[in-house]
Symmetry: C2
């Protein structure tokens, strides 16, 4: 009997709330968005929205409460350290309208890592989580993250955040896995726009993305092109759409090749 359940897996969607004055001020470049997007993608979870908010209680509570009813999972990064500007735990408690309380397991972890005498008042801040939360192990620097309902609260330091993700992987249920294939087309976007609209209309379940690039030849002359990205859960549908696109390009004598453009200038935003 074929595995019908696997063939009809639902779409699972997630949001990320990045809590960080230092990202908004331009001091630091975020690295967690891109990592999480790829990590979730491999599990069949689509990152559907990201918000970057200041270290401000109202802003954090609003973002979390906007996102948690709308997405299957919400991740937060940042603000779980021991200092006054680490306010994420109290924000999540406020978002869920529950008290913040010392978690005995978190206290034990911190005492074990730092030595009982060295768990000062500041470190004990990191043992406080919203009432009802379950911990997320931190194999790098001990201080745990936590899960509250569908909200996963992670560290902001990328290496710690990444380690925490591995520890919570088993708590996530993925959906259908989205795959993608690219096609490099040697024509400007405008010249293939009508053709692409037709292909997109014939393959509604796919998303066909069009990203212009400029490739400089050795002689310094620019060559304009477009990178097409076909994304979807049905690999056969992707292959069919690419075949149709190639066939249509041949009719108007436009060259193409499989894959992404070779030079680093190809990655457009927007």
């Amino acid at each position: 009997m074929p595995d019908v359940k696997n063939q009809r897996k639902k779409t699972v969607r997630a949001a990320l709330v990045i809590i960080g004055d230092e990202i908004l001020s331009g001091r630091t470049k975020d690295a967690n968005l891109n990592y999480l997007a790829n990590w979730l993608g491999e599990l069949g979870i689509t990152l559907s929205e990201v918000r970057v908010v200041a270290d401000d209680k109202d802003a954090v509570v609003r973002a979390v409460n906007d996102c948690r009813p709308r997405y299957d999972y919400v991740f937060t990064t940042g603000g779980i350290g021991p200092t006054h500007d680490d306010i994420t735990a109290q924000c999540i408690a406020a978002a869920f309208n529950v008290p913040l309380e010392v978690n005995p397991e978190a206290q034990r972890i911190l005492e074990s890592y730092h030595g009982e005498g060295d768990v000062n008042k500041a470190r004990m801040r990191m043992a406080r989580v919203p009432s009802g939360a379950t911990l997320i192990d931190n194999p790098v620097s001990a201080a745990p993250g936590f899960q509250m309902d569908n909200v996963f609260v992670l560290a902001g330091i990328p290496v710690v955040m990444q380690a925490m993700l591995e520890k919570l992987r088993d708590r996530l249920e993925g959906g259908a896995i989205v795959t993608s294939k690219s096609l490099t087309v040697h024509a400007g976007e405008s010249n293939i726009a009508a053709l692409l609209t037709a292909v997109q209309d014939r393959h509604e379940a796919l998303s066909v993305g069009s990203y212009p690039f400029f490739r400089l030849s050795k002689g310094g002359e620019g060559r304009v092109g477009t990178c097409l990205v076909f994304r979807g859960v049905d690999g056969g549908d992707i292959d069919a759409a690419i075949d149709e696109t190639k066939f249509a390009l041949e009719q108007i004598s436009v060259e193409y090749e499989d894959g992404e453009p070779l030079l680093p200038h190809h990655k457009k935003q927007g």
Copy 2:
């Protein structure tokens, strides 16, 4: 007579809405957030929130309409090209509940750049803006952005987006300019947390950020430290807070030095 107006400039806040499936899928790393944050900062405008949303009409309209009453300025990046996945203009028209219409000036710009015969139907898509919008020049590739009330619609390609910002600079009114100074402290965050809380409480107009770092010595041993960032509009207040912090650190025999830590590992998120 002293310039009282300049001394009491208001806080001016902005939001950025990044429209881009390719950022959310992890295919492309955004570069516009960090650039805009620094560019706005120099004008005395604080980037207060960022959202990354999919190439989806409902998602874009919701994000723009959430942000535009809440902030002085809203910037969008991405989705203003000629293909089917470029939907930003129609989303902004929907957000403002006005029709999309061909802008004669945009049409003239595109005809002049591409040659009248080469302005195909796809390119003409880029001449359509919401009724009432004013154009934003694009000195790189002609197709203009536009302004609708307090919303500035920019290209996603970083070099184009950056050029558009220069063209709209005169339309923005900045507020008090936020400056910052850093102090590198050779102690873990937990050990200086209480001290920092006291300094923050004494300087409520500043934001005192605390960012742990790990510096590896040549021998391979890690040295833990904390980078403190004092941000605010009053340089004298920043200097006073740093002086107090240094004085307090001396009382507990903790070493420090002005500026950021020297090694590249110092930049924490969160």
